[in-house]
């Protein structure tokens, strides 16, 4: 799908801050509010903008810290559907936060979140590795999140400029 320059700008603005108001977006890209509304609607309907959500640092919330694991999965693709069928079987689990088909040493990268290591381990041993097409799994637990989806978790940088300058 080919986007116009204005549409592309709107996507970029909303990706940076999904809460930017439509009136402000309209001003930023120099179009009317109605036009902005229509373009955003179009982008939403065509699933270019899939969803608006927040990036939450769960590690800050006591009792909800949770664990995240990245699991490398080797599978046997099926004739006719390739990896899509097994991928769908895996991503339907609500524990699975992300799923990517990879090039290289393994096939699927599965990001799983759980309350504890135990919960994730159970998911892997009982749900994931028991699937017919799954040949092997390698589980890596994430120890600390520094940056997620382009956002740095500990924003240390303040404005260091002097208040008035030539």
């Amino acid at each position: 799908m080919q986007l116009t320059e204005k549409e592309l700008e709107i996507v970029e603005i909303l990706e940076q801050d999904a809460r930017t108001k439509i009136v402000d977006i309209a001003k930023m890209v120099n179009i009317s509010v109605n036009e902005a509304e229509a373009l955003i609607k179009k982008l939403e309907e065509s699933n270019v903008i899939v969803q608006y959500s927040s990036i939450v640092d769960w590690s800050k919330i006591s009792g909800h810290e949770g664990v995240t694991a990245m699991i490398d999965v080797k599978v046997t693709p099926k004739r006719g559907v390739g990896f899509d069928e097994i991928a769908e079987r895996i991503y339907r689990f609500k524990e699975v936060k992300a799923l990517y088909l990879m090039s290289g040493a393994y096939d699927l990268s599965v990001i799983v979140e759980g309350k504890s290591m135990n919960e994730v381990a159970n998911f892997v041993s009982q749900k994931l590795s028991t699937l017919d097409s799954v040949l092997s799994t390698t589980t890596h637990f994430i120890l600390k999140k520094y940056k997620h989806d382009g956002t740095i978790f500990e924003q240390g940088e303040k404005d260091k400029r002097i208040v008035v300058s030539p």
């Binding site: 930023m28 002097i162 008035v164 300058s165």
Partner: protein, 389 residues
């Protein structure tokens, strides 16, 4: 007290302290101020550029460079000027790497001014021009541009102040403080005046990377102008590198050699680690510059439209990161307006009169601030205007 005064040179004694200084002192002591008074990018220099400087330090590049700067950097600058602006300058004898555009301005003026020579400064203007002309022994002659002309100078306005002592004109496009960018036609009309009176043009193109609607055209690209142009640019604005103190000047060989004489005695060379950083900025910084430009453009669109909505009439500036709205309808002078806005609503702007007589009735607002800050400042200015006027 009286005695020490006699130590000072007349020229320095007569220099006026910048009006910006006073506003800095006023704003610096206050809490919760949103500053639109900052004349520099709100971006931190890209990490890849910072990292290149760190690497140069780790490798021990801590000595002087050639007077004109690292040849490797000058070659990158030559390629950059060619690719971005279609200009050809020899890396070996037509450019000098300087300590910011500021030092480039200084050596350019000192290279061409004899005592008593006149240099035309187009106001509203960057605050350093006239003092630097004075320090070089020259006399600054101002031209007042008009809001109705988007603060563009006309050939007639130039002709009016040209005398047999006129040596040079300082041009600044995109402009600080008005944001006005001169297009090819504007430059051509100035070029004809320069040619007619055989003047040097000192073209301060430090904001060249930050043009939002039309493609930036360098004065040196205008037919027959290269030979009389001293082109000043640098890394401060487009590459968000103000603190590195790195700029450059390009000019025909003879002028460059003259400037290099001053530079070699007064400065030796620009900071070495900053030069290494600049090499990286030119080699791999293009995408970052594009991203920053896009971000400024959006903020400009938002901010200028919002100013007009709250009743501060403002032309759309084609470049830099300044809006220069009129505050005439309030009946206040720009100093009064800026001071009251600061005290009553804690928004710092720079009163237009510090940029020259024709800046009176305006304020300079830098939109190199986060969207949240811009939104909040608009809210506060609206409240201020509704309450008082």
């Amino acid at each position: 007290m009286k005695q020490t005064k006699t130590y000072l040179s007349k020229t320095v004694e007569e220099l006026k302290p910048s009006g910006i200084r006073r506003f800095f002192d006023l704003a610096a002591g206050m809490e919760g101020v949103i500053s639109l008074g900052v004349g520099e990018p709100d971006f931190v220099t890209s990490w890849s550029v910072r990292e290149a400087a760190i690497l140069s330090l780790e490798q021990g590049y801590t000595s002087y460079t050639a007077n004109a700067g690292l040849l490797e950097l000058r070659e990158e600058i030559a390629a950059y000027m060619e690719n971005s602006f279609g200009l050809q300058y020899s890396a070996s004898n037509e450019m000098i790497v300087t300590v910011g555009a500021s030092q480039a301005l200084d050596i350019a003026l000192r290279a061409v001014i004899d005592p008593g020579d006149e240099v035309i400064v187009i106001e509203p203007s960057f605050v350093s021009y006239i003092p630097l002309v004075n320090l070089a022994g020259g006399k600054g002659v101002t031209v007042q541009t008009k809001k109705e002309n988007d603060f563009k100078v006309t050939p007639a306005e130039l002709e009016e102040v040209i005398t047999h002592r006129t040596k040079a004109i300082i041009l600044c496009s995109p402009n600080n403080p008005t944001g006005t960018m001169l297009n090819e036609q504007d430059l051509k009309s100035i070029a004809s005046v320069a040619k007619k009176h055989d003047l040097v043009i000192i073209a301060d193109e430090i904001y060249a990377e930050l043009s939002y609607d039309e493609k930036f055209v360098s004065f040196a690209a205008i037919e027959e102008m290269r030979e009389r142009t001293i082109l000043i640019s640098g890394f401060s604005k487009g590459f968000a590198m103000t603190g590195w103190r790195l700029g450059f000047v390009c000019a025909p060989k003879e002028l460059t050699e003259a400037m290099l004489k001053i530079h070699q005695y007064a400065m030796m060379c620009a900071p070495t680690m900053a030069q290494f950083a600049a090499i990286e900025a030119l080699r791999h910084g293009n995408e970052d510059v594009n991203e920053m430009r896009k971000s400024y453009r959006r903020r400009r669109n938002y901010f200028v439209q919002s100013l007009n909505e709250i009743g501060l009439e403002c032309h759309t500036p084609g470049g830099a990161f300044y809006a220069f709205p009129s505050i005439e309808r309030t009946g206040l002078t720009s100093e009064q307006f800026a001071e009251r806005l600061l005290v009553e609503e804690k928004v710092a702007v720079v009163p237009g009169n510090v940029f020259g007589q024709s800046g009176e009735g305006h304020i300079r607002c830098s939109y190199a601030s986060s969207m949240e800050q811009l939104q909040e400042s608009i809210k506060r200015m609206k409240r201020f205007l509704e309450r008082e006027f």
